[in-house]
């Protein structure tokens, strides 16, 4: 089992959800976050005083998938979220030790 964490543009959410849904992946979580990567933030002016917006609005999605779904899921996210411009985001993949489905007590891949 793997956890896929993707930091994305807020506008990418719908396409990413659709891409993962087409693979039959059931369940994902989304968080509204603020942050910056290599692009850093940008400068703005309010009433004549300059300020930096270092933390720009992003979303973070988290999906747990079984091993065979890992690469197709990552591909689906990258394909759906890519605009080719600075600020598209990043995808991280982490191993997951165990999963338990609370209602039934199932564990491992069956719990997903």
């Amino acid at each position: 089992m793997y956890k896929i964490e993707a930091y994305l543009r807020p506008s990418a959410l719908e396409e990413v959800q659709k891409g993962l849904g087409d693979l039959g992946i059931a369940g994902m979580s989304v968080t509204e976050i603020r942050g910056f990567g290599r692009q850093r933030g940008h400068r703005e002016v309010y009433r004549g005083a300059e300020y930096r917006i270092d933390f720009v609005p992003k979303i973070k999605i988290e999906v747990i998938v079984k091993e065979s779904d890992r690469d197709p899921a990552v591909d689906a996210i990258v394909q759906a979220a890519k605009t080719g411009k600075v600020g598209d985001g990043k995808v991280f993949v982490l191993p997951v030790g165990e999963a338990v489905r609370i209602r039934t007590g199932e564990t491992g891949d069956a719990a997903l």
Partner: protein, 448 residues
């Protein structure tokens, strides 16, 4: 049949009532004088008086405008506090004006400088001296309530400038004394027939008496209060503190613009058709010119069309035209408004760079543009009796008096009960610190 009969009865009645008026209307009007002499005194008085009362209600709604403008240009965590101050100011302003302010500002015969007045009189409704045109083009009650609505405006101007760090009880004492004594004393010099009036100083609806007075009171208060925490860093950087609701601020400015039809239009002090309509035109063209000028200035000078500057530009135009709304041409009004709209953008940036923290731009909008508007009467007035020198002298007198009076008041409060909240409370927000209630329970941004 019965419908026909009742129609006939109504027509008979109308002919009987308006028979006299119909004769007048039927005459050919050959001159303005003939038209005026043909007008019946009582209906004219009713219309004049009604217009002053409508104007009063329009000035009242300006207080909602100030409340939402100040709310929009500050942070979420101080919203309840700002709304609370605005509610308090209008209420304390009206009560103190009844108790002393009205008679201090309009003392009748006095030495021209100072006469602390007693409470409002209570004339009977059939009192000829106060309820008919023997008094003015309006009744005693209309006179009081229109002027009372103006009075609280001066203190409201200060409220925005000191927002987000002023201690509530200290501010309530400050606002009450300002509106109960200092504003009416200063107002009596011109509108009460005092020494500036006798010099020929002209301030139609209060560019100096209300706005420069409020703006320079605010400047003194802000200087002794100090900037908001984090506004200016120890290394000399200027950090903007972003207002939390542009819709709120915009609603406020539209309400103020609407209210200004009463503020200036009512200051004609009658429903004189020519004058009131001229004042409507000059007032609103100045506001529009101020908006456009501020948009262009901020677009070029600050690189972006900043909506807060456009909003301040509208107010700058309105404050600017207030002194001469009755005595300039429509082209003059556009010039006054446009210059005010340019001046206000530079003034806001200059004051910020001088490390004077005024969250809503009250000193620039009301103080600087109040002076500009009063001086502009000397430049653009179509009345040759208005003199540039006296206009400059008069407006500087108001600015200086307001600055000194406000300084003394703030310093006394600062060293007795305190004028500023603690750093911890400022950080947490005055809504929780002073009132124990957030403005947007469960929806509030963590850092705002």
């Amino acid at each position: 049949m019965s419908k026909l009969r009742s129609n006939f009865a109504i027509w008979t009645l109308l002919v009987l009532i308006f028979g006299g008026a119909a004769q007048v209307v039927g005459q050919e009007i050959k001159s303005m004088e003939a038209f005026h002499s043909a007008t019946i005194a009582y209906p004219k008085f009713m219309v004049d008086n009604l217009w002053i009362l409508i104007a009063t209600a329009l000035v009242f709604i300006m207080h909602l405008g100030f409340a939402t403008l100040e709310t929009g240009l500050t942070r979420q965590k101080n919203t309840v506090n700002i709304l609370f101050k605005n509610l308090f100011i209008i209420s304390t302003g009206l009560i103190t004006y009844a108790l002393t302010g009205f008679n201090t500002m309009y003392p009748g015969d006095f030495n021209g400088f100072l006469a602390i007045g007693g409470p409002l009189a209570s004339p009977a409704l059939d009192d000829v001296a106060t309820m008919t045109s023997a008094y003015a083009d309006y009744t005693y009650w209309s006179d009081f309530i229109f002027q009372a609505m103006f009075a609280a405006t001066a203190a409201t101007i200060v409220s925005g400038a000191v927002a987000e760090r002023v201690k509530l009880n200290g501010f309530m004492i400050y606002a009450t004394i300002l509106v109960a004594f200092f504003y009416p004393i200063a107002g009596s010099w011109k509108w009460g027939g005092g020494w500036l009036d006798q010099m020929g100083f002209h301030d139609f609806a209060g560019s100096s008496i209300v706005h420069a007075f409020g703006g320079f009171s605010a400047l003194a208060a802000v200087l002794f209060l100090g900037p908001r925490l984090g506004k200016y860093t120890p290394t000399g950087e200027i950090r903007p503190v972003l207002g939390h609701s542009m819709p709120m601020a915009t609603i406020g400015v539209f309400l103020l613009w609407l209210g200004w039809f009463g503020f200036n239009g009512g200051s004609v002090l009658s429903a004189d058709p020519g004058q009131v309509s001229l004042v409507f035109v000059t007032t609103t063209l100045a506001a529009a010119a101020g908006c456009l000028a501020a948009i262009f200035t901020s677009s070029f000078y600050l690189k972006k069309p900043d909506i807060t500057m456009a909003l301040n530009g509208i107010l700058a135009g309105l404050v600017g035209i207030t002194a001469g709304a009755d005595s300039v041409t429509w082209i003059g009004a556009i010039a006054i408004g446009a210059i005010a709209g340019i001046v206000v953008v530079f003034a806001i940036v200059f004051i910020d760079h001088a490390k004077i923290d005024d969250p809503v731009g009250a000193v620039s909008v009301h103080g600087i543009c109040g002076i500009w508007g009063t001086v502009a009467v000397g430049l653009f007035s179509t009345n040759p009796a208005h003199s540039l020198g006296i206009q400059v002298f008069g407006t500087l007198t108001y600015a200086l008096f307001a600055f000194i009076a406000s300084s003394i008041l703030v310093l006394i409060i600062k060293y007795t009960i305190g004028i500023r909240v603690g750093a911890e409370e400022e950080d947490e927000g005055l809504d929780l610190g002073e009132h124990g209630q957030p403005a947007y329970a469960d929806f509030q941004h963590i850092n705002n």
